[in-house]
């Protein structure tokens, strides 16, 4: 897996160009780190240089502070939620799940932590596309949100189907709206998130010509659904995947997943060959 895969080669600097340093380990100052709901925190860091070049779908490998209870050792991969070069800020939206994110949640304005990145390939937008459909759930929304502005900048219309257990837990709705996206909120409690309904929504969008490509993250079920629908209607798509990581730089081979490829199944490193992969090649996780 030494050369980067076909996936949107435009967005992605091939490793071979490495002579020019394109990844940096930056000691970044915490501007704010606030809870957005019972489960999620929103972290804003002051950073400069390469960190500012991060694109939608790329991620950073973040050092998490030790606490009384936890001594996280490895870094934690987090998608870039927003980059504001003008303000020299990079933002993350993370769910508190274990030792590392519990540590992150203790960061206060004025503290600092090390972030390695930007890492991975990021989403790609084909110049030919006019309308895209973004389908996300849970943590996946953090990864997909910056895609809204990226598409808007290129005059691409976005329909965002945002899924969650309850309305209260859907995040980034306003962000998608502000970016000019059409937002559909679907939830488990009113049943609107169930596969048949989502499929109906997708087919509707396809028939009304508003689905040149699919983008998804955060739900295996949704990924499989989009893959099937995409295959049926010949709609290309991209999925951002997760896997446990150590280095984030393609060195350790911890983060492999299996993929379909023209020449049969193959292993790829999520950190280097991804985290964004062609929907058509992604396999259930």
């Amino acid at each position: 897996m030494l050369s980067t895969p076909a996936v949107n080669a435009d967005e992605n600097e091939p490793i071979r160009a490495a002579a020019a340093f394109d990844v940096a380990d930056t000691q970044a100052l915490v501007t704010s780190n606030a809870a957005v709901n019972a489960e999620y925190f929103h972290l804003t860091l002051a950073a400069a240089g390469l960190a500012m070049t991060a694109k939608a779908g790329q991620f950073f490998n973040i050092a998490c502070p030790a606490t009384d209870k936890d001594l996280p050792y490895l870094r934690r991969p987090m998608s870039v939620y927003r980059v504001v070069p003008a303000k020299g800020e990079v933002e993350f939206l993370y769910k508190v799940t274990g030792a590392g994110t519990r540590g992150l949640a203790t960061l206060r304005a004025g503290d600092s932590t090390a972030i390695l990145g930007p890492l991975g390939n990021g989403f790609g937008l084909d110049p030919g596309w006019k309308n895209i459909v973004v389908v996300g759930r849970g943590v996946g929304l953090a990864t997909l949100a910056p895609l809204a502005e990226m598409a808007a900048e290129r005059g691409i219309e976005v329909t965002a189907i945002l899924s969650a257990r309850t309305r209260a837990l859907v995040m980034s709705v306003q962000r998608f709206i502000d970016a000019g996206a059409q937002v559909e909120v679907i939830t488990d409690d009113d049943g609107s998130s169930d596969p048949d309904n989502v499929e109906r929504l997708l087919v509707g969008l396809i028939e009304s010509g508003r689905a040149d490509a699919f983008f998804t993250c955060g739900s295996n079920r949704l990924m499989l659904l989009l893959k099937r629908v995409g295959a049926t209607f010949q709609i290309p798509g991209q999925v951002a995947m997760e896997q446990q990581m150590a280095c984030g730089l393609g060195m350790c081979f911890c983060c492999v997943r299996n993929f379909d490829s023209s020449h049969g199944p193959e292993q790829r490193r999520v950190c280097l060959d991804g985290p964004v992969f062609p929907l058509s090649e992604a396999l259930s996780w």
Binding site: L71, Y73, M245, A246, M251, C252
Partner: protein, 312 residues
């Protein structure tokens, strides 16, 4: 100006700091130039194609990690055609780590690597020897001697032999490697370990057991370097949990001539650079002209281990 150069057999390294096999790849060149390193060491390659182990392949445990990567390998030719060129643009000597399931196939792959551009061979003999019920070559002096002997005949390149810590007597294995022609020893590979998720009751690694690395193993590997240094005359390259300049110094004092940094690079990608710079500052502060003076400089004279006292 402190002289950081060290000699490993007949090659001289500009400084004693290099990556540990498998914790490093050309990808790190996106962060800094390998010209700053004493050497570069490749991920272990094998002759046959391998997929590596099932996921999860990593588990964080305390101040260290378990890995069960195994040795995914695309074979020797892929290495020569696609990976070697990546390293050629750097001045740091290229050390190629190799492995094989039998002594004969070990010699075979080394023969294929008798090509320009390779500074030394690092034989990872911590891998299972399928001719001896899967026990790693380096677990026993006999199988170590057998494989190193074949390797020595197969190559004129400097031969570094990497030992496993999963043995009761690393000293006799080290002596066997030296006596069979090793030019240097790398001490050591990961320690076989395990972790279980108490919520799911499942092992946290897809292959149940895996290799323990990182700061947590440093005191154990440091002890092995010290023990080996009492027994062999060839240079020892210390490898286990090195994260800071002080860690590197500790290994040199115990008898190492150079050090490899592994897991620390995952946590601090610039760790190797920091150690290189730190060694200069350390030597300046201690008025030491040559970093090589630190090798074996532990002040243990007059101290001894009372045989009658129980030691673990």
């Amino acid at each position: 100006m402190v002289d950081l150069r060290v000699k490993i057999g007949r090659i001289t390294l500009k400084n004693p700091v290099m990556p540990a096999s498998g914790t490093f790849s050309e990808g790190l060149a996106r962060v800094f130039s390998f010209d700053h390193l004493g050497a570069v060491v490749t991920k272990t390659i094998t002759a046959e194609l391998r997929g590596g182990n099932p996921t999860p392949r990593v588990a964080e445990v305390g101040q260290g990690m378990l890995n069960s990567i195994g040795i995914p390998s695309k074979g020797v030719l892929n290495f020569i055609d696609h990976i070697m060129p990546e390293y050629q643009r750097f001045s740091a000597p290229l050390v190629v780590s190799v492995s094989a399931p039998t002594a004969e196939s070990f010699a075979e792959i080394v023969r294929q690597l008798n090509i320009p551009g390779i500074a030394a061979i690092e034989a990872n003999i911590s891998c299972p020897n399928i001719e001896e019920d899967g026990k790693a070559f380096a677990m026993r002096a006999k199988s170590t001697a057998a494989v190193v002997d074949q390797l020595r005949k197969a190559t004129a390149l400097p031969l570094w032999v990497k030992l496993t810590p999963n043995t009761g007597d690393v000293g006799v294995v080290a002596r066997a490697a030296q006596d069979s022609g090793a030019d240097a020893l790398v001490v050591a590979n990961t320690i076989l370990a395990m972790s279980i998720d108490t919520e799911t009751f499942r092992p946290r690694l897809g292959s149940i057991m895996g290799g323990y690395s990182g700061p947590a193993i440093k005191p154990i590997i440091l002890r092995m370097v010290y023990q080996c240094a009492q027994i062999v005359d060839i240079p020892i390259i210390g490898c286990g949990g090195i994260t800071t300049t002080e860690d590197a110094v500790e290994y040199l004092l115990a008898g190492a001539t150079a050090v490899q940094v592994g897991t620390a690079t995952f946590v601090r990608p610039n760790a190797m650079l920091d150690v290189v710079e730190g060694l200069t500052r350390f030597c300046e502060r201690k008025n030491i002209d040559r970093v090589s003076e630190l090798t074996g400089a532990v002040r243990d004279r007059g101290m001894h281990v009372d045989k009658l006292e129980a030691l673990p």
